[in-house]
Symmetry: C2
């Protein structure tokens, strides 16, 4: 995490989390990260530029939603599930459930 | 509700809800509405202009979070709790809990 700022649990702010998730790409990233594994930053394909994806990863990291781990020239992303569950009990689960329903409805 | 558009339950979109709530004044309005009573639109004092409050009320209404009822020249606001609970189970409760904790932390 050298050089990449991650807020402490206590500094994770509800408004920043809501603002970060109020975007279809960032919400989709979080849905993907909810499988509890670490994902390479190159493993997301939402049809937008690398610069745009970098921006989304940064917003999620700075909001306290994800951890970005640098390994050599690669970056890996994971969800701060335990931190979020501890800070906002029940919120992430409810959001993921709502996001899944949203996807199902959109696919119809 | 003459002339005021309220989305149907099925049209309430998660991203619009998150975007609407990612604002300190709108979140505070929702916390106040969570007492399940109807509030006059004039009953909120957040130190901003009436035009600004109108904007916040509209964003909440159009996101499907609140109902604005016109009565003569007055408007009344209430929370669409049952609709939101039905559409996004657990989300509003988790948000309200998080908002309360946020307020307590801010007050410290």
């Amino acid at each position: 995490m050298r050089g990449l700022h991650h807020p402490t649990i206590d500094a994770i702010d509800l408004l920043s989390v809501l603002n970060a998730l109020a975007d279809p790409i960032r919400l989709a990233i979080v849905v993907k990260l909810a499988d509890e594994t670490e994902h390479p930053c190159t493993g997301f394909d939402f049809g937008v530029t690398a610069a745009s994806m970098s921006h989304h990863f940064r917003v999620l990291r700075e909001a306290g939603i994800s951890i970005t781990r640098q390994e050599g020239k690669y970056r890996w992303l994971s969800l701060r599930r335990a931190d979020l569950d501890s800070r906002f009990p029940g919120l992430l689960d409810a959001l993921l459930r709502a996001a899944h329903n949203r996807k199902e409805n959109t696919a119809q």
